[in-house]
């Protein structure tokens, strides 16, 4: 069965520092992968998605993610974090039933 693991529950970075949020998936075929962000009291907003093709995917707000089949990973990165990036980040995979299965999330804190 498909699954997604986000090993980091909480990450703290300084404003202006680089960021990498980890996501590992388990899926038999080529996965369809997503990163969503959830700000306090808000719904989930799509940052980026990977279906096929170029393994480096660009998203909104300066985020990018790289699909690495050999490592079963789809890590999210940003070269310079802004205070407004503080939020909860979720990795998700499309299941065989064409639904989304979400990881448990990583909470990002940005310190000035």
């Amino acid at each position: 069965a498909q699954s997604v693991t986000q090993p980091d529950i909480h990450i703290t970075v300084s404003e202006g520092a680089s960021l990498e949020l980890r996501c590992n998936y388990s899926y038999g075929a080529t996965p369809y992968l997503f990163w969503y962000v959830q700000s306090p009291g808000q719904g989930l907003q799509l940052l980026l998605k990977y279906f096929s093709g170029d393994t480096l995917v660009q998203g909104i707000k300066g985020f990018e993610a790289e699909f690495k089949r050999s490592q079963s990973s789809f890590n999210l990165r940003k070269p310079s974090v802004h205070w407004s990036d503080a939020a909860e980040y979720f990795c998700a995979v499309v299941t065989g039933a064409n639904n989304l299965f979400f990881g448990t999330g990583t909470r990002l804190t940005v310190i000035p």
């Binding site: 369809y32 969503y36 009291g41 808000q42 719904g43 989930l44 907003q45 799509l46 998605k49 279906f51 979720f90 998700a92 499309v94 039933a97 064409n98 639904n99 989304l100 299965f101 979400f102 990881g103 448990t104 999330g105």
Partner: protein, 114 residues
């Protein structure tokens, strides 16, 4: 384009009471989802509709939860009777069709069961 609308935004009830949540998806979106997000966890799918038909309700606790989408547009999720463990945020999402189209999420309804 208007996003997914949900109401109410917050609800506090006592256990064994009933509660209903409403969702209005993006216009033209055939597929609608209800998710439950317990604090500290990722959203978990409860039910998926395609137009007014149920596609997947395997994770819906049918002894207490029910959902409908009578005219293929708005949807209502009901809990009767509520338990303490139902405290969560209930998210509605929609997308144009099925497959891998992007899901768009509403702001959610935060339910507290006392």
């Amino acid at each position: 384009e208007a996003g997914v609308a949900q109401s109410p935004r917050y609800k506090i009830i006592e256990k064994r009471q009933s509660v209903a949540f409403w969702c209005n998806p993006i216009s033209g979106h055939a597929t609608l989802y209800w998710y439950q997000q317990i604090l500290g966890q990722g959203p978990k799918l409860l039910i998926q509709f395609q137009n007014n038909g149920v596609v997947d309700d395997s994770q819906l606790p049918k002894d207490r939860f029910s959902a409908e989408r009578l005219k293929g547009v708005d949807s209502t999720l009901k809990i009767q009777p509520a338990k303490l463990e139902d405290s969560a945020v209930y998210l509605c999402a929609s997308r144009i069709q099925g497959g891998t189209d992007t899901q768009y999420f509403g702001p959610g309804t935060r339910l507290t069961v006392l």
